[in-house]
Subunit: 147 residues, 4 copies
């Protein structure tokens, strides 16, 4: 197993510049750790993400998974602003608790053109009970030769 | 083909009360039309939804599709606050233009317990070129007998 | 709308040579029609495809959809033996009747590298009631320059 | 972690009677092991499952995953002939080697009505390199009270 090619600090700088809409200073999302072909993200519990019944919304979890995949790719191949999601499939498994979410991403395939990964989402501290499971595919632009 | 059982005005009132996080007065999402087993939604173009390169973000489109499915279900069976998404699959097809998005939802199946639908997302005025395609499943709570 | 670049007869010859495992002379699958970015396939009703309860099996429908997508691609860009499925998502909607299945495929995107399509599967003669809905992605090899 | 409620021998007897089309005496599929919420299946390498280039076909892998999920459910809740797949999503990751496939299934959720699982497919002896990844949902009939 090799190492990540970007640190969390480098990723944060890159994302703040290239995704100011998502990675605002008060963003609910933060990077917990990265490695080669993997990332762990946290989504801070926040009233704005709630659905009726007090649970965290589906779109918040889809966003979290999409970002987790992107960061696992960046951490593995370096800054590629134009990598784009081509497919994302999510299964919602159980009602999340009213607390932070943790998203663990593993890339199942990291090819030259396509990266495929899975993301397991849990309520913080309750990792025996998965809240949602995601698989997603990113297309990687070919002009990254110099990256 | 039968008719919708809720009007757009009734849906807006229901959503504002039960989903104040999403359906704020300044929400980018609005209902264009509803019918039995179908809905059309608009997502107003807004800088906050952009990705690098100036395109609307994937999570915005996933949210739009999820809401379009939910509204098609509400319009067909009446107010069911606790219907929940169990699966959502999205294929991103082309880069959206910097303008409003239109999401056309059709329910492919409306059973007692599960509803399955598809959502076709376009840039407003460019319906020959689909931007994203979504299929999703909602579980319908059984206690809706009195709804 | 342009035309298919291969006829049904050309497709049958190509498939019999390159996919003798699936397109045997007694195969249950046959091409009904093709066009640019579309195909219609038939799956003959056959006891071997049954599940308990007498319905056609899920794997038969997944195979039918995968083949329908492949044929729509071949019909649009010419013989590309090495195009491979990268993702397939199927929703089973209703129990098929004990009769032939019809699969209508439309390509939603036909890029240089990726083709994405949807397949609607019906029991023959009952097209108001969809049996299954599929979306799938094929990767197209780049060495098809001369195709 | 509790135990499987059916043995491999009991599962084979059940499947041979209820799925004679798939579980023929010369079937390529066999159960390697089962546990509570999990199964391991083997698909014997066989010329009939090949695609051009000598690789095992996508539909063979989809069938293997569908069966692996079904057997993990049976092993966990007992014989339920009428459990049906409602959704299956497969990502094809790398070209399988010309040898047996191994499919490892884990149920991520086992509710009263819906079971959701994931299946990791490998070439036998090459488990560091996943060939395909599947998630699937089964609907469980409610009349299983007496099962």
């Amino acid at each position: 197993m090799s190492h990540a090619v970007m640190t969390i600090a480098q990723l944060n700088t890159f994302l703040a510049r290239d995704f100011p809409q998502v990675f605002t200073p008060d963003s609910a999302f933060s990077i917990v750790s990265v490695g080669y072909r993997e990332s762990v993200m946290r989504c801070r519990f926040d009233q704005r993400h709630l659905r009726p019944g007090g649970t965290i919304s589906g779109p918040t979890m889809m966003t979290l998974a999409d970002v987790g995949l992107y960061i696992a790719i960046l951490a593995s191949i370096g800054p590629v602003a134009m990598a784009v999601t081509t497919n994302l499939n999510i299964n919602f498994l159980s009602k999340p608790a009213p607390r932070d979410l943790i998203a663990r991403t593993k890339l199942l395939r990291l090819g030259r053109r396509l990266a495929v990964g899975e993301v397991s989402i849990y309520s913080d501290g309750e990792e025996e009970d998965m809240v949602a499971h995601v698989t997603g595919t990113y297309a990687i632009p070919q002009e990254r030769a110099g990256a």
